[in-house]
């Protein structure tokens, strides 16, 4: 009676396990399917183990406790599986979200890296143009220095020439005193001639020849005076020329100073452009390194993107496998 009862219970339990397993098998999810397949098998295996194996317990008690143990164990295993599966599902969800975010970040990083690469290329090109302009400026500055040096040399030559001319004109101007003396002598000679002519006139017929001589002397005196006036006029013009030369000398001096200042500025510009060119070369090299790093970053980001996509697909597959449901974002 007891054996039948036990068997009935076993059958009932077995049927119940089968029904429960079918129910679970119809459900979705790895844990339920595992339990549906593994649970009855475990109960049946425990029972067979008890029946076939050697047992020291009371057969009646064993007939009862064994299926109960199987059920309880299966239930505990089922509960454990549900917890694990839930956690796996949660982690899978988080993994999917993380992989999605990672993928988006990777895409954004790839776009940023591409944009950065473009900007770096533009900066590199601009730096190269600036470098070329700096080189051109440096060449122009050197040319300016060369021309300024030639102009400076010519200006100094002109300055020396004006100084020589000023000295000559100053010496000529000193002749004005001599000319003034000549003019005074001519005036006195003329007066003497006039007085001689007057005395000759007083002498009447006897002084006629002397009056001719006096007239000639007066004529010579007048010519001398006229010549001295002409020389004085020439000296006055030479004085104007001296002032003009002095003005030219001052102008050339200012020009020489300006040229010296220009040459100095040219040297400064040339040095600055050389330093600028060197700095631009360093910037260009750094930009090339940055561009290379950008390319490497882009490649790494793409690999990361691919990896994250693969990981996301794995997460989706795992989620489907665990939960038995295909998510919308999958």
């Amino acid at each position: 009676m007891n054996e039948h009862l036990i068997m009935i219970l076993i059958c009932v339990l077995t049927v119940a396990f089968v029904v429960f397993g079918v129910y679970l098998a119809l459900g979705k999810g790895l844990a339920f399917r595992m339990f549906a397949l593994v649970g009855p098998a475990i109960g049946f295996i425990c029972y067979l183990g008890y029946v076939v194996g050697d047992s020291h317990l009371d057969p009646n008690v064993a007939m009862i406790t064994t299926p109960v143990s199987a059920i309880v164990g299966t239930a505990a295993l089922y509960s454990l599986y549900r917890i694990v599966v839930k956690r796996i599902a949660v982690q899978t969800e988080s993994l999917m979200a993380s992989t999605a975010q990672l993928s988006a970040t990777a895409k954004q990083s790839a776009a940023t890296a591409a944009e950065q690469s473009t900007v770096v290329s533009q900066v590199t090109a601009t730096t190269e143009e600036i470098n070329q302009m700096s080189l051109t400026t440096s060449q122009n500055a050197e040319e300016l220095m060369k021309l300024g040096g030639e102009a400076l040399q010519r200006g100094q030559t002109g300055l020396q020439a004006t100084e020589s001319a000023a000295r000559v004109i100053a010496e000529i101007s000193e002749m004005s005193e001599i000319v003034e003396t000549i003019r005074s002598l001519a005036d006195q000679s003329k007066l003497l001639a006039v007085n001689a002519a007057i005395e000759a006139a007083k002498a009447g017929e006897h002084g006629r020849g002397f009056s001719v001589v006096a007239a000639e002397v007066r004529t010579l005196a007048e010519q001398s005076r006229e010549a001295s006036l002409q020389v004085r006029e020439s000296l006055r013009r030479s004085d104007e020329a001296r002032r003009a030369i002095e003005l030219v000398r001052q102008t050339i001096e200012e020009l020489v100073m300006t040229l010296e200042s220009t040459a100095d500025k040219g040297r400064q510009i040339s040095g600055a452009t050389i330093q600028q060119s060197a700095g631009l070369k360093q910037i260009s090299a750094a930009m090339q390194n940055v561009a290379q790093a950008g390319h490497d970053t882009t490649a790494s980001v793409r690999q990361l993107e691919q990896a994250s996509e693969s990981l996301r697909q794995v997460a989706i597959n795992m989620s489907i496998f665990v939960t038995g449901k295909a998510r919308a974002e999958a």
């Binding site: 007066l191 006039v194 002519a197 007057i198 000759a200 006139a201 007083k202």
Partner: protein, 189 residues
Amino acid sequence: MDERDKRLLQQRAARYAIRNPNDSEYSRSAFESMPSYESQARDHSFVIFRLGGERFALQATSVLAVGPMPPLVPLPGQPDAVRGICLFRGVCVSVIDLAGYLGVSLSEESLLMTAHDPHGRPLSFAIEGVDDVCALELSDEAGRERSVDWPVRAIARTARSSSERSEFVSIIELGLLYQSERISVLKNA
């Protein structure tokens, strides 16, 4: 100028400063009694000089000398026509303002002409310059200038060659200067 010259000039100045009440003008008859100028002009030489931009002539025989302008000593109480006195060959000579008398102004005063007056005394005046010593040709206008109130006795023109342009000059008679009250003080000095 030494102290002796200054003393002489001061004595002469003091004597000239006293107006002589017995001075009398040259009469018209005296003027008319002068020899014909037409007869003298061609035969005598004249000194042509400039005064106030105009040309005047003085008979060469009456001119003593032409020289640079010496320093003048003003006379106390002197007439307006007398500018002062100066030394000429050791003699004090009156320097009259001939330009002012003739109504012209000196543009430059560089020379002093000294001449004999009709009394044979030296008389000086400032001129601008001497142009020539030559004979003159009387012009047709000569007679009209004959006046007892004007020292210009005749108008003549310089006898130049055909290539040169002759210029008119005014012949001055120093004796006529004494007809003026301004100058008459010198007549008997």
